[in-house]
Symmetry: C3
Subunit: 347 residues, 3 copies
Amino acid sequence: MEYTLAELATRLGGELRGPGDLRISGIAAVDQATPRDLSFIAQKKYLKKVSASRAAAFLVAPEWAELGRPCIVVPQPYLAYARAAALFAPPPWRWPGVSDRAWLGQSVQLGAEVSVAPFAFIGDGCRLGDRVTIGPGCILGREVEIGPDTYLHPRVTILDRCRIGARVIIHSGAVIGADGFGYVPTPQGHEKIPQLGIVVLEDEVEIGANTTIDRAALGETRIGRGTKIDNLVQVAHNVVVGEHSILVAQVGVAGSAKLGKRVVLGGQAAVVGHLEVGDGVQVGGKSALTHSVGPGQVMLGSPARPYKEFLAMHGVMVKLPDLYRRLKKLEQQVAALTGATSPETES
Amino acid sequence: MEYTLAELATRLGGELRGPGDLRISGIAAVDQATPRDLSFIAQKKYLKKVSASRAAAFLVAPEWAELGRPCIVVPQPYLAYARAAALFAPPPWRWPGVSDRAWLGQSVQLGAEVSVAPFAFIGDGCRLGDRVTIGPGCILGREVEIGPDTYLHPRVTILDRCRIGARVIIHSGAVIGADGFGYVPTPQGHEKIPQLGIVVLEDEVEIGANTTIDRAALGETRIGRGTKIDNLVQVAHNVVVGEHSILVAQVGVAGSAKLGKRVVLGGQAAVVGHLEVGDGVQVGGKSALTHSVGPGQVMLGSPARPYKEFLAMHGVMVKLPDLYRRLKKLEQQVAALTGATSPETES
Amino acid sequence: MEYTLAELATRLGGELRGPGDLRISGIAAVDQATPRDLSFIAQKKYLKKVSASRAAAFLVAPEWAELGRPCIVVPQPYLAYARAAALFAPPPWRWPGVSDRAWLGQSVQLGAEVSVAPFAFIGDGCRLGDRVTIGPGCILGREVEIGPDTYLHPRVTILDRCRIGARVIIHSGAVIGADGFGYVPTPQGHEKIPQLGIVVLEDEVEIGANTTIDRAALGETRIGRGTKIDNLVQVAHNVVVGEHSILVAQVGVAGSAKLGKRVVLGGQAAVVGHLEVGDGVQVGGKSALTHSVGPGQVMLGSPARPYKEFLAMHGVMVKLPDLYRRLKKLEQQVAALTGATSPETES
């Protein structure tokens, strides 16, 4: 892909400052760009690297536009970078049509321009929308439904009856619809509770590599529209995640938890089962949410507390050795005082 | 599947209260049931939802039997639900026989009614018991042994010489028998210790999606009969887990740890290497067990402590900002007192 | 494999003490060895098990050489054990040549003696060095480069353009080069930032089962030579890990973190994004490194602190219930004193 700077300014909706015919063939960070690359200044700290940068041109915000270098002025340089990156991204690879090395079960319905790569297995009764891409080694169970333009990277597993929306992206190794973890303890051992529900991924969800989202015991496990889930995340049975939420890598959400919209769970955070988590709640990395919280709260720690309380508590925790010394000194002083002022010693 | 209420009462060993010819075709939670569904009251809090429920009938305990609705009275409604769910569960999917799109190595021994789906790879010398199911995309190394009625979901990997018992269930993406993580540090780098042992999964073990259980350096990594392991769990080399234990999602057990029977490790908990963990020990979610513990202990925190001690400690931790203020006030008071009563200031 | 004790002494560079013609066919732990096995004493505590051991002979350090049993005296018994284990290890399994059940894309370049097993998918333009092994079910995207003698266990995924060095080992289920987790928040939702970079694994890296290493947004995610990464580890986009580092199972390293050489991250530890971690830094298991640290530091806790500070803090934390009682007692005493010595009560 190659564009002139003028073309890029037009496509990105920015203001051209510099030679419109400058030819750009890639995008790179300010300190790694070549003279063929566009770069971008998304944070003030990168401004000082501009003079040493070999980049052909820069995406910049209006307040930093006086770079003395070719640039495109945009209101949000980071967003413009994302969109410029999409212009330079190679088109995603797709097998042309349905490979004769794939296996398609009975009564499979394929939309227009569906791509099925070698070693993919499509179970009986699956329905794939237009332009769906099934990468090499993907396995779909029976009666899986996938909406249009959804892209499965290699080696994704989606099990029986799960329903995947449109424009969903699922990365390699993810497992959608394995059994939830449910047993009844008996004197003879743990008796398995059959997991009869499904997983629903709504439109524009993205699921990271090797993430697992379990099917419901009964009913649905549901991931709301536009929610993005990173790698190695565990979402247990009957969890509901609202729209446009973010679950960072290695998060675990226990069974039947209900998360609102635009919730953010930091890396390795955990949410205990059956909780209700309000819209816009943020849980810090490695924190453990152990009780339900209303909208907009920011929670930290394990167990998690409102972040100001956590920070106040932690601020004292780091002083504990000093506090202990001070406590012991007080005890000595008070013992001396008590001795000095007690009637027995005064008499 | 469809049953009459009378048939269900018989199969579940419960007492019929209501029309025996009522036809039931599914099972659902009390607030999601349709008029064709059986539901169940496993906790008192669900009793108040009965009047609004559309369910055809309910599984209930004797003390809640006066529902005014058709029901089956059972001593343990949750267990009865699990067994009813098994009655309504679709039979697990199996490829009929051995697919010609699978690959079987030399000297593979297959029991009666073994199912091997497309794109499964069975290494030389594997032995599969009667009615074993190998899902699409599963890979077995050389000389793997699998007992009767074991079910491998799609895309399971079991590596050389590992031994899997009877009635085991392994979910998609699990890796049984990858090398343990062992190196000897040298000035030139980390020298790999060949991992010569195996993994043994005893009968009725269940292994979650994308869980990893490493082969022993020497000898065995062993998971005891009836133990259930959730998704994304790491079990390191030479670990031994006793019978009927529960490892919840994202748990990590480090090398050579020995866990007793009926141990429960909560989600994201960790057990340090070489520990001994007694029968019936429970470790809370996100806790880190850093020393050996005797039978029956309940441990919490990171590092984990007996839960009463942890709770007592944590109860003070949340008051630390207040305690710090009180300590400072005491210091001022004592300074005043000391000043007032010290000989120097008195003179 | 079978060796005489004399052969083993020669190959391991040790001193023979005992019958050189003793035949040895395996290696085992001191308490599990059979009369055909070599064993080893790597720690003093195992010395007392020697008398009951059935092992044919032992690897021992010079100071413990007076065992009264056949042995090979070596300066580092644990290292000698690793090397002896390599002598007894079965040769790693390889498909002979390129299976006609694998799929090779266009313009794939294969070195000498490359092995490609059934159901492997090699994308267009891949280049595989001499003696590379591609296990069953592995998927390589387009233009992946793999150096000589690298071994991919079954069901590894390496995505477009990633570069893998020589003598690398990658375990089953690992995903190298999935998209980094990057979005720009907008009022309409999270807009995906195309991930245009790659992953580079340098020579002699080892990657554990179901571990995920994401491709860079721009540029490279890089794992330095000789670094060993355990199972279920998450390495985010643009992370750089120096040479000879160790990342234990379930570690998470967030985006753009830069780790030095010989860094050790304990199991389930986390490193926050954009940090710089000096050479030789050690981070304890389950700890969360939240700020950059210079070389050689040992960090513990969540958030992590220098381990001596953490231990001092934790030593007081466990006493908090007692401290709280002592604080309340002091308050009572001081109240009494203040009452007793205050001018108002004295007058």
